[in-house]
């Protein structure tokens, strides 16, 4: 098993003195390559803070966050940027594709920023879009795509270059049921390619795509859910 992300008693406080707020407290977890983890909890439970710590967008005030052997809290800014650019992809509810670029150009952008020549980056982007059944939209601008197509392109942009960790914050929030399902399918497929996925969501149906669901309350992990096996299983279909 290749460990992609680990948090060891990680915490994040904001402010100081009587105004101090603990957003995340004493959280320990690991995510392996090929695994999908969902994080659920009410608003203010620390879900977004957990995702920000995992993605190096904020540093822990206690404990450690380790991404592929790099302890994020101790890296200098330049090192951190490099690790994040190469290892982590983000997908947000606001899709954030650049409106003046086609789908293929949007997807190739991270490679170009990483120094890959434009032609090669575009070829890689087109091949990736093709593997995700998005050939049809490769040449389209975001405004010429449906919300579901845009989010699928955003997932492609987040995984191009074979990133180890994909962080998704309510990626289906603005989509209809079927489009949302296609995005979830695409995220799930990425684990088959060896990436780890961490999904933050309010949606129980979408969290259920994950191998494990972590429940957060008041900044602490209170439960971990896995699908039932053996006699606990509700359905025993012969051909399953």
């Amino acid at each position: 098993m290749i460990r992609v992300l680990s948090m060891e008693r990680a915490g994040r406080r904001y402010g100081s003195g009587p105004r101090q707020v603990t957003a995340l407290d004493d959280v320990s977890l690991t995510v392996q390559a090929g695994e999908m983890l969902a994080v659920m909890g009410p608003s203010g439970s620390g879900k977004s803070t957990l995702l920000q710590l995992a993605g190096g967008l904020t540093r822990p005030t206690s404990g450690r966050v380790v991404l592929c052997d790099s302890e994020l809290g101790t890296l200098r800014e330049a090192e951190l940027s490099l690790v994040l650019r190469r290892r982590v992809g983000f997908v947000f509810q606001d899709i954030n594709l650049l409106p003046a670029l086609t789908a293929a150009e949007n997807v190739s952008l991270p490679l170009e920023l990483d120094g890959v020549r434009s032609r090669r980056a575009m070829a890689t982007a087109r091949a990736l879009l093709s593997s995700l059944d998005l050939d049809d939209v490769a040449g389209r601008l975001p405004a010429q795509m449906s919300g579901g197509q845009q989010q699928r392109v955003a997932v492609a942009r987040a995984v191009i270059g074979g990133r180890s960790l994909l962080l998704a914050d309510e990626p289906t929030g603005a989509l209809d049921s079927l489009s949302a399902e296609s995005v979830m399918q695409l995220l799930r497929t990425q684990t088959g390619n060896g990436s780890a996925v961490v999904l933050v969501t309010h949606n129980f149906r979408h969290a259920a795509w994950a191998d494990r669901i972590l429940c957060l309350r008041d900044g602490r992990l209170i439960d971990e859910v896995r699908p039932p096996a053996g006699p606990e299983s509700l359905l025993r279909r012969e051909h399953v």
């Binding site: 659920m40 009410p42 129980f204 149906r205 969290a207 259920a208 795509w209 994950a210 669901i213 429940c215 209170i222 439960d223 859910v225 896995r226 699908p227 039932p228 606990e232 299983s233 509700l234 359905l235 025993r236 279909r237 012969e238 051909h239 399953v240």
Partner: protein
Amino acid sequence: MSIRYSLLAILDAGPRHGYALKSEFEAATGNVWPLNVGQVYSTLSRLERDGLVLVTEDEDGQKAYRISDAGRQDLKRWYGTPVVREVVPRQELAIKLVFAMRSGPEQVREVVQRQLVATMASLQEFTNLKATAERDGDLAWLMMLDALIFQAEAEARWLELCEARLAHLRPQPLSVGADAEETRDVERMP
């Protein structure tokens, strides 16, 4: 759940023996509702009595059932009639929560959280099964799993709301009426 109409629906595709009806029903519904042979034959006798199925005996002496015209019409009526919802379903979970309230919010919180974990685990199981159904192109089974998924999701959202309500719960002061009632009870005591 209507076994009667499910059997008519299977027979609408062609004649069957009793045991084949049982197997086909269970396969179509993913073994969610296992059916015993007794139920199948008692339902078939009622359908025969009502003229909705016709029975013939083949060379081996086995009974084969086929749907009659009246049966087809009855089936059509069933498809065209919305299912009536139970207004107040006798749901064990709702009853458990109502009684847990008597032991206080902590007890309810525990019931809610335990159930939420179990419901989410079921959701994961149904979602995993969907991948197989999609791969097999089994649309009927897929829609059935969707139904189970949406029901489990509704339960999870309801539990989440219960939890949020508990978080906002403040101790209720005793009402003046309740105080007065209590005083009267005391006064009546010998």
